[in-house]
Symmetry: C2
Subunit: 170 residues, 2 copies
DNA sequence: ATAGAACCTCAACTAAAGTTGAGGTCAATA
DNA sequence: TATTGACCTCAACTTTAGTTGAGGTTCTAT
């Protein structure tokens, strides 16, 4: 067990394996994150990766952002846009997490709206393109600055997948 | 405009292009769904796809399920497990949407929990593997029948990514 | 000094949900 | 009838987030 007794100075740099076990992500994932510019490493004389302990915090932040549904590319952008790219300060965390919280709230709001529509459409089941709120994708449109959609496209040919409230299977 | 004047009997079968425009999904997607067993088609003498109008309802249901976050493979399973695979009845819709609503509620609950943790951790920023609720993935574990986790793994080597409440950047 | 664990690079593979293109056929309209 | 848009199949490509494996090197405890 060579891992165990490496002179365990409190601030020694970490190997990729150590970072993997301590952060809970696979070594291959750390390599992958490095290719994506999400983390960086120093190299030993023998070309092996060495990490400052701050990388653990960085990985923690990445993982939390992922849980909120942010794609890695976006996380990378936000991390690299930070004034102090190398070391994540408490203020950075506050900034990022505030931003991600907003994002997350939007996603929750969207899902909640969907759930409510689902609830009210369970009894109906018309699923009409024209009449059913489940099929009028307000949410998608509102992202593209819509609201005007219904007016602008009012004359377009629409189809009734089924007649609403007929309760038929077609 | 050949599309326009096809003898427009109310119950004529639909071509793939008609289904595409009426349902809002691409023709290639309809082909794809067919290979995945999500929809079926009859064929004309010349081997072109012909759909009953009920396919529009089926696609509507698929799209709504997708919005709730269900993968296509699961949707396929549920649709094909239906007693009446071909035609979706109102009762099928009620059954499926009830089920998906439950699913959606769970996803919302998870995201809400994450948001609340995020909120309470913004000021702290410790992100400690041991101490931070954001890093103790209760949610994932609870799916595997956990709760026992904290006790069972209590002696395991954990790492402090940072010391909690130190407010330091490492 | 040496065994063996841990590490290196690079390429290929996975999964989901499609999209794109090539090469060829069908069908409705002028 | 001829044209042309719509359609067909099949293969390859795309993106995201990684994983797997081959072939070779480094590190560290004994």
């Amino acid at each position: 067990m060579p891992e165990k007794n490496r002179t365990d100075l409190p601030r020694r740099e970490l190997t990729v394996g150590e970072v993997a076990t301590r952060s809970g992500v696979a070594v291959s994932t750390l390599h992958f994150y490095e290719t994506k510019g999400l983390i960086k490493s120093m190299r030993s004389r023998g070309n092996q990766r060495r990490y400052p302990r701050s990388v653990l915090r960085r990985i923690a932040v990445i993982k939390i952002a992922q849980r909120t549904g942010i794609p890695l590319a976006d996380i990378q952008k936000e991390l690299s846009a930070l004034p102090n790219d190398r070391q994540l300060l408490a203020s950075d965390w506050a900034h990022l997490s505030e931003h991600w919280k907003t994002d997350l709230n939007e996603r929750i709001a969207k899902l909640t709206a969907l759930r409510d529509q689902l609830t009210s459409c369970i009894g109906c089941g018309c699923l009409s393109m024209r009449d059913c709120p489940l099929r009028n994708p307000y949410d998608e449109l509102s992202e593209k600055g819509a609201g005007a959609y219904l007016i602008e496209h009012a004359g377009e040919e629409q189809d009734e997948a089924t007649g609403c409230n007929k309760g038929s299977a077609d």
